[in-house]
Symmetry: C2
Subunit: 377 residues, 2 copies
């Protein structure tokens, strides 16, 4: 691939885990990477400057939400998503598949694609592999995702197989519809539920088509961490070693640590942002619910070891007060803290891989999580 093309540069390894660097049209991303979710072209309650200050180098935006409002072609006429949302770093867009199947009540799936009604106004829309790729191009995504059916859980093997094979046929159509441009990538998505043979079939099908990277979909949908790790153990090694691997929609900090140890390079999840808006903070000693009355006169920061603006500038008493008073600043500061925590987690993982000390790092991480919040001491 040319120097100005999309490129995944692999760095140090520690067991199955690896460090790397994604090169995209809008800059580079150190991996393993966590992508904050910017559903409607904004990471909720954050300015782009604040997102960048947490250490995030790439954000995710949602094709489904943006195609409905403000409309992909409108964003294109306005100069693309990067300019629209004032984020000049890399953007990954999902395909819309997950949302049309989970957010819309009325929908019909067939070989061609999905017809659905908008959750906003009931208007009728169609998403096909070709349309999803066209939308993601109109938005200007650095990384586009193949349009697939996120197989529900639980599901029997026959249904999982049928769903996965439909997604593989769609993946081939996505690959054909994707227009190569320097620095832009298309990722396929492995499906197959919790069935090892189906995951292997899916991984082989995608590798045969050939993508710039590979998502692993259909996990963190209720199967539990042990089963998710089991699927990763059986799936990751079947993917091309030289391409980035993205575990979609994951997850809790411990999920991420375990998945990185199994060779995953990229993550996205609404957990840090959504939790930040509902009063839950992630810390080195596990989660803290700032709404709890025990914080009412506690001058200590959320996490004494954290250097984020919320911990550097404010005590728990103040954050608790903002919650009780329903002040927007409470949601802003907790979101900031959580995104900072996630980025610190990824930086810690990268440093541990580089030092060949991931096992020890993961053990220390787990001990910290188990230690319990300082407010309970």
């Amino acid at each position: 691939m040319s120097a100005d093309g999309f490129r995944f540069e692999l760095g140090g390894r520690d067991g199955a885990a690896r460090m790397g660097r994604l090169h995209t049209a809008h800059g580079t991303v150190e991996t393993p990477a966590f992508m904050p979710v910017g559903t409607a072209a904004t990471v909720k309650a954050m300015t782009p400057e604040a997102v960048a200050a947490t250490g995030a180098e790439i954000v995710l935006a949602n094709t489904y939400h943006l195609m409905l409002r403000p409309g992909a072609e409108r964003v294109e006429r306005l100069g693309g998503l990067h300019r629209f949302m004032n984020w000049e770093r890399p953007i990954l867009t999902d395909s819309g598949g997950y949302q049309v199947l989970s957010l819309t009540a009325l929908r019909a799936i067939d070989e061609r694609g999905v017809v659905f009604q908008s959750h906003l106004d009931g208007s009728r829309h169609e998403l096909t592999p070709e349309r999803s790729i066209a939308i993601q191009r109109a938005l200007g995504a650095d990384i586009s995702m193949a349009f697939d059916e996120c197989t529900p859980y639980p599901v029997d093997e026959a249904a999982a197989a049928a769903s996965m094979r439909l997604s593989m046929r769609w993946a081939e159509r996505c690959r054909a519809a994707f227009v190569e441009r320097p620095g832009h990538a298309l990722f396929g998505i492995v499906q197959g539920g919790v069935y090892p043979a189906l995951r292997a079939e899916s991984a082989a099908a995608l590798a045969g088509i050939g993508f710039h990277g590979y998502g692993i979909g259909g996990l963190a949908v209720g199967e539990g961490q042990a089963r998710m790790f089991d699927v990763l153990d059986r799936t990751v090694g079947l993917l091309p070693d030289d391409a980035p691997r993205y575990l979609m929609g994951v997850g809790k900090p411990a999920d991420i640590v375990g998945a990185v140890a199994r060779g995953i390079d990229m993550f996205d999840c609404v957990l840090p942002t959504r939790s930040g808006r509902t009063g839950q903070a992630f810390t080195r000693r596990g989660p803290v619910n700032i709404r709890n009355a025990r914080h009412i006169e506690d001058p200590r920061p959320l996490d004494p070891d954290c250097r984020c603006p919320a911990c550097a500038g404010y005590g728990r008493a103040y954050l608790h007060h903002l919650w009780r008073a329903e002040e927007i600043l409470g949601r802003m500061l907790l979101t900031w803290h959580n995104l900072y925590y996630y980025q610190e987690l990824m930086a810690g993982l990268r440093a541990a891989i580089e030092a060949g000390a991931l096992d020890a790092w993961a053990a220390e991480f787990a001990a910290g999580q188990a230690a319990g919040d300082i407010a309970a001491l």
Copy 2:
């Protein structure tokens, strides 16, 4: 007054208008100054860093809200309001008088003070001149305000007189209760409704007691700009020339320009912050309602001449999108823009006074406001 004391340093003049500098325990404030309102110890939807970046040098916080939640003594135990809310610059607190009389349904006023029920939980509280001053000291306010009754409008002259005289007796008790500390100030508040003789009586009473500065209360309560300016024309000149004058709760940009021309040094108002949260932006060409559909594909900033982050980074189409999607960032960016606009307004007024060109500046300001928004061109 000693060098480390509260001090008002007068600078250039232009007609009745003047420039100056307030010296407080937490730093200096250039006047004429606009104070963003931080009701519950936060300027809504803004970090303190963002507030400072707009150019604001002082914020206002509300005694009534903070005494109920989280409680003034709690704030004191936590190190005072500056540390609590992470704002190390000057803070002015109001007395709580305005809120107990406007926000609480059940209340009883007598010579001693006001007994009222919290709008939050119905709990019974008392505010007296002495208690208001004690609360403001516990909060650590750089500038405390005398506890007064904000005379309603309309009201007949006899009732206005009785109300004003009660406030003057309370002002004397506030002055006696106020403990002098370096860099801390107590302002009296002129009342008297729209009756010139009562305003004169009030101003003389306060000057006789002697305060560090003088508020003008009971205006912008429905009397209209012309009548407000008329009261200012008859009142400002009766106040000590060497003390700061603060027009409370005012106002729209044109109100501020007219009041500065009449010798006012300080302002506070919820308008820029509240409007920012409801989709109205202030610009050099008058107000813009970002919810209006005409902005849906307009790539231009709110105000092409504005250098605030909202105008530098985003088009109207994006701000409109944030509004339709009910995204917090929309409220954050419009609040930021409006506070920046107000601070630019004050900086423009100060520069015009310094140049002896306030009349010309005010004429240009009025022409701009009358010109109408660029979206209508």
